[in-house]
């Protein structure tokens, strides 16, 4: 489960997603351009998965 979640989120931070759908300035997210804000959100979620795995002791 954790592995699937991690890989799924990582895929969202890789091509083709980042070079197509996410590759834009508008709309702004969290006060920053879309691509930057989108990636920041994915990265935070990935760190969340790592912390969850640690907490579960996997």
């Amino acid at each position: 489960m954790a592995l699937v979640l991690f890989l799924g989120l990582m895929a969202l931070a890789q091509p083709p997603v980042v070079h197509t759908w996410a590759n834009r300035i508008e709309p702004w997210l969290f006060g920053v351009p879309f691509l930057y804000g989108y990636l920041l959100a994915v990265y935070v979620a990935l760190i969340g998965v790592l912390l969850w795995v640690l907490r579960k002791g996997l």
């Binding site: 083709p16 070079h19 590759n23 351009p33 691509l35 790592l50 640690l54």
Partner: protein
């Protein structure tokens, strides 16, 4: 007082602090190779955390990242990928490497690989690859240090002299105090560089644009080409994005200075904590770096050396005292990595080459002396490279990571037990092929492919990807045709991995591991899973 005097004085004050720490560490040092090389395998979470992050982030992160954001735009935010991958790799792979190091007394990456593949040729090739490619890393730090001191002094201290001063100081405290000195200075350097880059970026953003969000809006108006992929020069193609992600995660983790940190941990739980939490520090350091690089592209659009954007902005727009404090943080970033790489290369050359092939059976004091002489030699090579050749700091680090990446199949073969085992000839052939493909896809000339394909990075795919795919393919095919390691070795090492992953680990109180006899580290072979007195199962 003139600004350059304040800035330069603060950097020298910082250098004085590191020298004092080296001297204090020297007083705690025993004539013991394991203490000198591995901190006695007693590093706890806080020290290890700060030394890992400070070592991973170097001049490349402090100066190079700003330069890349400045030149190629938002594509460098790919950095989140590789910093988080470093955490995941540490969690899964680093903990296994720790377990094997603890069980069998490994000190260098080559110890582990040579033991499993039962091959001295593997040991030598791994040692050569480790040292060869991390020398580039020494060059990165040396260049970064030279930039900092020359900018801070307003070019009164020439690049060549600044590089030399800072290299000598880093080598000095390393030679005096070994890994203990490196770890102690890394604690200060890790904290200092993080605060410095955040404070510096925010001060500049507020002073020049009215705040970070206003900075983003100004970039969107004046340079929207910096805010989408593949960037103004078309650099961040999909193939480069993935390739840099792999080279700067796996490729850095497999370098000896990072693997030695796994060996030095007091227990496996510490490594897992590192894996889960280091990405928080590593990834968030690039948030202010984006502000520096993108803001700098608007304010100082014609910089000859983009890697100097951060110190140039500070020197021109920040108060002198703050500039000095922050540039001392940049010095910390470069020195914390430089000392670690000098230390790891010294370890590899002393342990894997000198102690084994040149003078086996000498005294501990003799090896310590040789190690210190090796540091001096590495210093000279790094210095000459830094003053003779120039390239983007990030480019050099990526090349360094791409080289170390070629150890990946061999390391995976040790750490992940499977039905099909990689063989000695398989991993040697794979590494050789990977290095050859790396050369062919990266070096423009002399190259037989020149004129036939675009170089470097043919078809927009990073050389790291071409080389590691070729490496894995050859390793797998050749391993199916050649004899595997002995069943006893496979059972011993893969059994230890399985015991660690599925059966619980053994942790000795105080981090005790093995013993030293006759100048050679004697591993507690076959006894690692026995519960030591005072120990516990994790």
């Amino acid at each position: 007082m003139e600004p350059w005097v304040v800035a330069t004085s603060l950097i020298f004050l910082y250098l004085l602090v590191t020298i004092v720490l080296g001297v204090v560490a020297n007083r705690r040092l025993s004539v013991d190779m394991e203490d000198f090389l591995l901190y006695g395998r007693k590093a706890g979470f806080v020290v290890l955390y700060l030394t890992v992050v400070a070592t991973y982030h170097s001049a490349f992160a402090f100066l190079g990242s700003g330069g890349y954001f400045y030149t190629h735009g938002i594509g460098f935010w790919d950095a989140g990928t590789w910093t988080i991958l470093v955490g995941a790799i540490t969690y899964v792979l680093g903990s296994r490497i720790w377990a094997l190091g603890k069980a069998f007394g490994y000190i260098t990456p080559a110890d582990m690989l040579a033991d499993f593949y039962e091959s001295e040729a593997v040991r030598v090739l791994v040692a050569v690859v480790s040292v060869l490619f991390t020398i580039l890393y020494i060059q990165v730090q040396a260049q970064g240090l030279g930039y900092i001191l020359s900018v801070a002094s307003g070019d009164r201290i020439p690049f060549e002299v600044g590089t030399l001063i800072l290299l000598v100081v880093a080598a000095g405290y390393l030679v005096a105090g070994g890994l203990r000195a490196v770890y102690w200075t890394d604690v200060i350097q890790g904290l200092w560089m993080y605060l410095a880059v955040w404070i510096g970026a925010l001060v500049l953003a507020f002073k020049l644009f009215g705040g970070p969000f206003e900075l983003w809006r100004a970039v969107a108006v004046e340079r929207p080409d910096l805010l989408t992929l593949p960037g103004p020069q078309g650099f961040f193609t999909p193939g480069i994005w993935v390739g840099m992600g792999i080279a700067l995660s796996f490729g850095i983790v497999f370098q000896p200075h990072m693997m030695i940190r796994y060996y030095s941990a007091v227990d496996g739980k510490t490594i897992k904590w590192l894996g889960a939490t280091t990405p928080i520090y590593l990834m968030t350091l690039y948030i202010p770096a984006a502000l520096v690089g993108l803001g700098g592209a608007l304010v100082l659009p014609d910089l000859a050396i983009p890697d100097q954007v951060f110190p140039e902005l500070l020197f021109q727009f920040a108060p002198p005292l703050l500039t000095g404090v922050i540039l001392a943080g940049a010095t910390a970033a470069a020195m914390s990595t430089l000392d670690s790489i000098l230390h790891s290369n010294m370890t590899v050359l002393t342990r894997d080459v000198y102690q084994r092939y040149v003078a086996p059976g000498a005294t501990q004091a003799h090896y310590l002396l040789v190690g210190r002489l090796i540091v001096a030699g590495l210093l000279a090579v790094g210095y000459l490279l830094s003053v003779k050749t120039f390239a983007f700091l990030v480019t050099l680090v990526t090349l360094s990571g791409s080289g170390a990446l070629q150890l990946m199949p061999a390391i995976m073969g040790v750490c992940f037990p499977g039905r099909r085992v990689f063989t000695r000839i398989g991993v040697l052939a794979g590494m050789g092929t990977g290095l050859a493909v790396l050369y062919l896809t990266l070096v423009p000339a002399p190259n037989p492919l020149a004129g036939l394909v675009d170089l470097p990075h043919p078809l927009g795919v990073h050389a790291a990807i071409w080389s590691i795919v070729a490496n894995f393919a050859v390793t797998i095919v050749v391993s199916r045709l050649t004899p595997p390691p002995s069943p006893e070795t496979i059972r011993r090492i893969h059994g230890e991995v399985e015991r660690f992953v599925y059966g619980g680990e053994v942790v000795a109180e105080g981090g005790e591991a093995g013993s030293l006899e006759g100048g050679t580290f004697k591993a507690p072979r076959g006894k690692a899973h026995e519960l030591p007195e005072g120990g516990r199962r994790g």
